[in-house]
């Protein structure tokens, strides 16, 4: 059933909020400001009561699916459980009520939290220092690419304009490098699904600034040749960028810094359990190696005998990347998670994430085609290519079938180097029973594909709306509500 829009619930004269009566003398506006500056038009905002508001959003929330509602094996997104204590502490007024331009002396709690979070993230990733300002993964990538630019500017090597990106990379990688002023050269994965040292060598010309890699890569496979890759890139005068989207596989096991990376961004809304909020706010801290610490965005958080402070005096800084200091409310939650889990818990989290993924992979591969049949890290990729050829059932049909069974589907059609790809990431917070239940459903869906494919084409049947017409949305864009 479709919900009314809040505008359609409007009734003239209703209100959802009462402000205190004004207690200062009120003078006519145009006695205090030029009337040519005053607004004449009246926007059409809804007039609803407080009860209307709550019922409206309550009804909308029933049409939405979150991790709290069920299993969410969305590959590459690390949809782990969002701990409730983090929400509680995130709502402390000692955090939410603080203004960004207060004196440093009055925000020591925040500065300590930012400093300690940076320190912990450096330890986890094997990097030297970092910035927590980037608002999201893509923003972190952009900031990371600015580190590249600053480094080569300082070295007088602005002829290095090319960044290498594997074809399996997230689309944000090439987009971020481009907006930072680089050109992209794509490199193909070899038959193992990995970057091959031989083909990399051919790309390492003297105009290459570096390479962006995800390790484990987007197929869920560890780039085994990483040490040699790092040496080759460094010997060619380039830098290595680590996309931390898949960091959940390796905490406490191996560190990007030890692999030879110079810059890494993390997605705290993936690895560090902060809620994704239906698409944000996230947080994409960037950590760097020794050779890049001089180029930090301003301000940097530092500590001396008097306490913590913001350092704006960074001679080779790349400049500012955010209005203030990042999505602080997200950072508070990530920090709470890090101290909850600690060194032992984070390591266990990664171990169990990999265990869960391999278990699911083993159980599903007997029925579904596992594209790269090898030990995976925290996620793996199936292909529905054969099912499509034999039964006309695509990755999309399987995803829509899962909706009727109370699951959020895996990521589909990414990475695009696998035809009809289904990318599954269970995360460590799911129990064996949950995984077994998911396997049963996936097997049922396979049976349905074989016996009654038409039924799957019709799925989902039991969701708030059924398959939506994406083509219509593009052909005749309706991007806001219009009064009838």
């Amino acid at each position: 059933m479709s919900s009314k829009l809040i505008f359609e619930m409007s009734s003239v004269g209703r209100t959802g909020y009462r402000f205190p009566d004004i207690d200062v003398p009120v003078l006519p506006l145009d006695k205090q400001i030029k009337s040519s500056l005053l607004r004449k038009s009246k926007p059409n905002l809804p007039e609803v009561s407080e009860v209307d508001i709550i019922r409206h959003y309550s009804s909308l929330s029933k049409k939405n699916f979150g991790v709290d509602a069920g299993f969410y094996p969305l590959g590459s997104c690390t949809m782990k459980y969002n701990p409730k204590i983090n929400e509680d502490v995130g709502n402390f007024s000692g955090f939410s009520g603080i203004h960004p331009l207060q004196s440093e002396e009055s925000v020591q709690g925040f500065l300590e939290m930012l400093y300690e979070t940076t320190k912990s993230l450096c330890e986890i990733t094997g990097m030297k220092w970092g910035t927590l300002q980037p608002y999201a993964g893509a923003h972190g990538e952009y900031t990371g690419m600015k580190f590249f630019k600053s480094y080569f500017r300082k070295k007088g090597e602005l002829n290095r304009t090319k960044v290498l990106v594997p074809t399996s990379a997230h689309g944000t990688n090439p987009a971020s490098a481009t907006i930072a002023g680089f050109h992209i050269e794509e490199i193909q994965a070899d038959e193992r699904g990995l970057v091959s040292v031989e083909s990399l060598k051919k790309h390492l010309t003297d105009d290459v600034a570096g390479i962006m890699l995800t390790n484990p890569n987007t197929l869920g496979l560890f780039e085994k040749d990483i040490i040699e890759i790092a040496k080759l890139v460094h010997d060619a005068g380039g830098l290595l960028y680590y996309d931390g989207a898949n960091m959940n596989a390796i905490m406490g096991k191996v560190r990007p810094g030890d692999m030879g990376f110079d810059v890494i961004h993390l997605n705290l809304h993936k690895t560090m359990s902060t809620p994704h909020g239906g698409g944000g706010p996230g947080s994409g801290p960037v950590l760097v190696s020794d050779r890049l610490v001089d180029f930090m965005p301003t301000p940097d958080v530092k500590k001396n005998d008097d306490g913590y402070y913001f350092d704006y005096n960074i001679p080779d800084t790349m400049g500012r990347v955010a209005g203030f200091y990042g999505n602080i409310a997200v950072l508070v939650r990530a920090y709470a998670y890090i101290i909850t889990m600690g060194s032992d818990g984070l390591k266990k989290a990664s171990e169990y994430a990999v265990l869960n993924a391999n278990y699911l992979k083993e159980r599903l591969k007997k029925t579904y085609h596992l594209y790269y049949d090898t030990t995976c890290m925290h996620e793996f990729v199936l292909s529905a290519k054969k099912m499509k050829e034999e039964y006309g059932i695509s990755a999309l049909d399987i995803a829509k079938g899962l909706l009727d069974h109370g699951y959020h589907p895996p990521t589909i059609y990414f990475p695009s180097i696998v035809p009809e790809s289904i990318m599954i990431e269970p995360t460590e917070t799911e129990s064996k029973e949950t995984l077994d239940g998911f396997v049963e459903t996936m097997l049922d869906i396979y049976q349905l594909a074989v016996n009654d494919p038409e039924k799957l084409h019709e799925a989902p049947l039991h969701t708030a709306v059924r398959r939506v017409d994406e083509v219509l949305a593009v052909k005749q864009p309706i991007l806001k509500w219009h009064a009838e």
């Binding site: 607004r39 709550i54 204590i85 939410s96 993964g137 997230h170 689309g171 040490i227 890290m377």
Partner: protein, 445 residues
């Protein structure tokens, strides 16, 4: 013992058996031995929930709250209780980006409503689903202009915009062939004469902020004609709370409207999250950055919402995308949407005009009774800048008495070290403002 990790010893053994390996370590065999960690991470071991609670309480207590008269891009407005309650509904905040439309209608519809609300307020025709903040929104808006006017490479930016916006833009365009130039100011507002002298067809966009960084409401009469005469795009950034009584970006003839929605239902939270908004005319829709929600139908003909026009975006277009943004500030944008829907136009006008009246009350008392001088004689909304001798000391003294009296501008402009920008919202009472004046009087002596 970790309550978020459900695996028992028995589970682990059974799972390893199915996988066909002896230990979890066997699953990490692809990692070269020489880099595999041999010692634990050098951070403390995990602690119990209650210990976390106590630790975080301690941190929060090391921050000091006071009666706030600080603004400069982050404002202490009243937040209706409903906002927080809706934002804590688990199906919203624990969801990912709404890629699966059939089970994401809640978020999708709320974004569609947000887009509509932003269009209504700014007077523009289309809006996206949100950007990070008002500062990064400026970079995105300029990028739109550069992509529209491909041969133009100059961007004119008023000297009165937020210095942090300016800094974010400088970083963004430092490595691409686009020149950022400042438009001179006169009495701390943008000088149209100065703009006239420098604008020509090599200019892709003109960026103005009103109310500007000093609080002054810019009179932009005639600006749009001048900008459009030279085929440039006009970008206007506004604190959206001001739009309750001041002209909207569309009223001034803007091509792109931007700003931050923090004043709507979001706490100051040390600067984040806010939400960047961006809206423009229909003809620019396909150049807009970020996610957009559209209305469509499902197979049964029911109204439904879906992420749309994705051919602009990075996951399809990769390096040819209009922007790299994917995660935005969805939940915070929803918060601002809830705020606007709750207060309605009447409430918004109320919050906006109370902020205006109260700011003018405080301005009057400070200038008339204490004899303080304004940085310039200009119209303003809820924020103004005064010259206060020895500003740093005055602000510190007032802070120790529990009043955050304003933002000293010395940290942004060395030659304005005695300038203080003071913001007043509807949340401040007459009593609080009178206490402010009394304290200032004592401190100034």
């Amino acid at each position: 013992m970790f309550s978020y990790l459900p695996q028992t010893e028995k589970d682990i053994q059974e799972m390893l058996e199915v996988i066909g390996v002896d230990s979890i370590d066997d699953l990490f065999k692809d990692i070269p031995k020489e880099i595999l960690m041999k010692t634990p991470l050098n951070i403390p071991k995990g602690i119990a929930e209650y210990e976390v609670y106590k630790h975080m309480t301690g941190l929060a207590q090391k921050n000091r709250q006071g009666l706030s008269f600080m603004g400069s891009g982050s404002y202490d407005h009243i937040i209706p209780s409903v906002v927080g309650h809706v934002l804590q509904m688990p199906n919203f905040y624990t969801a990912y980006t709404p890629y699966q439309a059939e089970i994401s209608q809640g978020i999708l519809q709320s974004i569609f409503e947000f887009q509509t609300l932003i269009c209504e307020l700014t007077g523009m025709e289309v809006s996206n689903a949100s950007l990070y903040d008002d500062h990064t929104a400026a970079s995105e808006a300029i990028t739109m202009a550069v992509n529209t006017r491909k041969k133009a490479d100059r961007i004119l930016v008023s000297g009165t915009i937020h210095p942090n916006t300016r800094a974010v833009i400088e970083t963004f365009f430092s490595d691409i062939p686009v020149k950022i130039e400042e438009i001179k100011t006169e009495n701390y507002v943008t000088s149209l004469d100065a703009l006239k002298d420098t604008i020509d067809e090599s200019v892709a966009a003109v960026l103005i902020q009103t109310p500007n960084f000093f609080g002054w409401a810019e009179d932009l009469t005639g600006l749009a004609d001048l900008v459009h005469e030279h085929k440039a795009l006009l970008i206007i950034s506004s604190n959206p709370m001001s739009l309750g009584i001041l002209k909207s970006q569309a009223d001034w003839g803007a091509d792109i409207a931007i700003g931050g929605t923090q004043p709507f239902g979001l706490s100051t939270y040390f600067g984040g999250p806010s939400v960047g908004y961006i809206s423009t005319s229909t003809k620019n829709t396909r150049k807009m950055p970020g996610r957009i929600v559209g209305q469509t139908k499902d197979v049964d003909g029911q109204r439904a919402f879906v992420l749309t026009l994705q051919a602009r975006e990075q996951h399809i277009k990769r390096q040819r995308a209009t922007s790299n943004i994917c995660s935005n500030q969805a939940l915070a944008a929803m918060g601002s949407g809830i705020y606007l829907s709750t207060v309605g136009w009447k409430g918004l006008k109320e919050a906006s005009s109370q902020s205006f009246q109260k700011a003018h009350y405080l301005y009057k008392r400070l200038t008339e009774e204490l004899g303080l001088k304004a940085l310039a004689e200009q119209d303003f909304f809820n924020e103004f800048t005064l010259i206060i001798p020895e500003a740093d000391k005055v602000l510190t003294d007032m802070e120790t008495q529990g009043i955050f009296a304003g933002v000293g501008l010395g940290q942004f402009f060395p030659d304005l070290k005695d300038a203080v920008t003071i913001a007043v919202t509807e949340k401040r009472t007459k009593e609080e403002m009178d206490a402010y004046v009394d304290l200032m009087k004592r401190v100034l002596k």
